[in-house]
């Protein structure tokens, strides 16, 4: 009895806490943990057309590390990340600084029109660009006809990635611009006044006040862009029917996972691809975040 009493008391105390966090924990477990746990579970099995389902341990993981198609697709999004993300972020930053400078005529118009592409659904935007890129009956074809020249096909194998980069940049400049612009707006005007009294020019103000002040926004935008690059999917999927030989079924890791599970019925291996890509993305985003924090 003496032993039981403190246990009852303790249980009662812990119960109250759980009444508060319980509902949250339940939903958290259902919508956040369960899919991850289920993916990990799936990745340990292999389901074959002949032979059915069997436990294979880490076989799917060893196979992934030797899978040239996966690493090719990973290399492709890595190049995309290294080339497209800086271009997009620098353009967005320039636009945000220009609008913020207050010297731009028709500021509201530029702000809205540059943001507008982000409001267009990615599927629609990609279809639109697909028509522009068409070298038979699309805009590129029309330009070729009108000027009697022959532009390279934007959807040929060695240009497809650059063409997709162009679409993504067009879509997301406005979004990133808005993040930077809103960060710029919270800088107190008194800083600019004192800088002006000290004789600082506009570029000195950008370098010494604006950029350091929006470092947090830059870091967030970079992390979002990294995640976005690794998740590249919609644009290549929509363009695939237009350029089936240039955009392979393993063009990006996401596309590869999709192909594996829906065309190949290899759900287990697709889950493995998803887990590894998730881990890689997390690691890279974390490293970038650490760097961003340390410098500030």
């Amino acid at each position: 009895m003496a032993v039981l009493q403190p246990a009852v008391a303790r249980r009662r105390r812990s119960w109250r806490g759980w009444q508060f966090v319980g509902p949250f924990m339940l939903i958290f477990a259902l919508v956040f943990l369960a899919p991850i746990v289920y993916s990990i579970y799936l990745s340990l099995y292999r389901n074959q057309l002949i032979g059915g389902n069997s436990f294979v341990g880490l076989d799917n993981y060893t196979r992934l590390f030797q899978d040239s198609q996966f690493w090719e697709s990973f290399g492709r999004v890595a190049i995309f990340l290294v080339v497209q993300v800086p271009i997009m972020l620098i353009l967005a930053l320039v636009v945000a600084l220009a609008i913020d400078s207050g010297r731009l005529y028709g500021k509201a118009f530029f702000r809205v029109s540059i943001f507008l592409p982000y409001a267009v659904p990615a599927v629609v935007a990609t279809l639109m660009w697909g028509f522009i890129y068409g070298d038979q009956f699309g805009l590129v074809g029309n330009i070729n006809d009108a000027f009697n020249i022959s532009l390279p096909n934007p959807l040929s194998p060695h240009l497809a990635l650059a063409s997709i980069g162009n679409i993504v940049t067009w879509e997301f400049i406005g979004y990133n611009m808005l993040i930077f612009y809103s960060a710029l707006r919270v800088i107190p005007g008194s800083l600019y006044e004192s800088a002006a009294l000290d004789g600082a020019g506009q570029f000195r103000i950008i370098r010494s006040i604006k950029l350091p002040a929006i470092r947090g926004a830059l870091s967030i935008a970079t992390i979002f862009s990294i995640i976005g690059s690794f998740q590249l999917f919609t644009e290549p999927v929509i363009l695939q029917p237009l350029a089936p030989n240039a955009i392979t079924t393993y063009f990006t890791p996401n596309l590869y996972a999709y192909q594996l599970s829906f065309s190949g019925q290899q759900y287990n291996y697709a889950a493995t691809v998803a887990i590894i890509m998730g881990i890689i993305t997390m690691v890279i985003a974390y490293v970038v975040q650490l760097r961003g924090n340390r410098e500030s």
């Binding site: 477990a29 746990v37 038979q136 190949g264």
Partner: protein
Amino acid sequence: MSKLLKVGAAATAALLSLGLAACGGGDDDSSSSGSSSTVSDADVTAALEKGGNLTVWAWEPTLKNVVTEFQKKYPNVKVDLVNAGTGNDQYTALQNAVAAGKGIPDVAQIEYYALPQFALGKSLTDLTGFGAENLKADFAPGPWNSVHSSNVAYGLPMDSGPMALYYNKNVFDKYGIKVPTTWDEYLDAARKLHKADPKAYITNDTGDAGFTTSMIWQAGGKPYTVDGTNVTINFSDEGSKKFEQVWQTLITEKLIAPISSWSDQWFQGMQNDTIATIATGAWMPANFVSSAPAASGKWRVADMPQWTAGANASAENGGSALSLMNKGLNNNQALAYGFTKFANDGDGVQIRVDGGAFPATTKQLSDSKFLNSEFKYFGGQKANEIFAKSSQNVVTGWTYLPFQVYSNSIFNDTAGKAYVSSTTLADGLKAWQDQSAKYGNEQGFTVK
């Protein structure tokens, strides 16, 4: 903190076991329902009279009228005809439904090339018990052979696609080019045409697995052999070589329009005289009428060009069956069979033929009214005579892979390279062969 962890672990364990249970449910042997039971014609008739609900997944447009007539004849039956996508899109939806074990239709349209895969996955019902084998004489041999996998019927043929050469007569007349009867003449015609009008091409192709396999089929190639789970894939046989040489020349000399079939540009090309021929199945006329109306009267139909002068070989391209699914939504297989038989062997066939479909039944294929019908789109030509002849001349002995759906999905990754780079078609087909074999082995087949 440690308490939190413990609770978390318990919750995780609970979820994990839930997941396991869900999986166990999905893994039940699906052959339990239907496969070995016997359902007599009387049972089917009784089911039709009694009525009930039926879910049918199909994209074939003429089935709509069939459903209307069917419900008129059997007022107690309510058929829910669902278009779950065309071809691969539907197979994806179907495979997902089968994997989930829920929402599976009672009847599904399945193309011949995909049928072995679904049969092997135990998703389709063996129709032997329904007496399907007694219907053998009703169907043309090609399609009848195509609904069989390991000598078991897994569906009733709905339509067939004996190949023919559709050509734009205007273009051929304009440049004084003879309609080709062999693939060598076809190559000559391609060169002449493109020289006369650099915007015009003999045909379009950006790499199409179904077309490629049909062409190899017509050339007498047999790249696939299937014996149970022993499979061979070999694109170096003579038939494959014949196709590969002609097509490589067309690609290298840039004589094929880089336009994908079924794209907007494709239909435009048919109407503005930039695509001169299309070699495809007998189901094509309805598509001409609906999607290229401006070209009405310009196009004609001819026999397939031959690989050997004077021969009359043909092949099938496309065509599909209606199959009964295991574990269908309404779990009423007698009724499902009743509908399938009505649509593919009974009154439904004529309704579909009237709607422009190409039948797989011998009765319609030899019907003089069918053979003599004149196609306004083809300038009054009796095109069915050509199709029916082609249907009789289909080269025998062709089989698809039991994982053809997947294999076709990676055609453009491999063989497609030949259309856009310096990779040769021979190397491309070899890569297709290797990738397909790799997948087959992973799936438990023995692929050589």
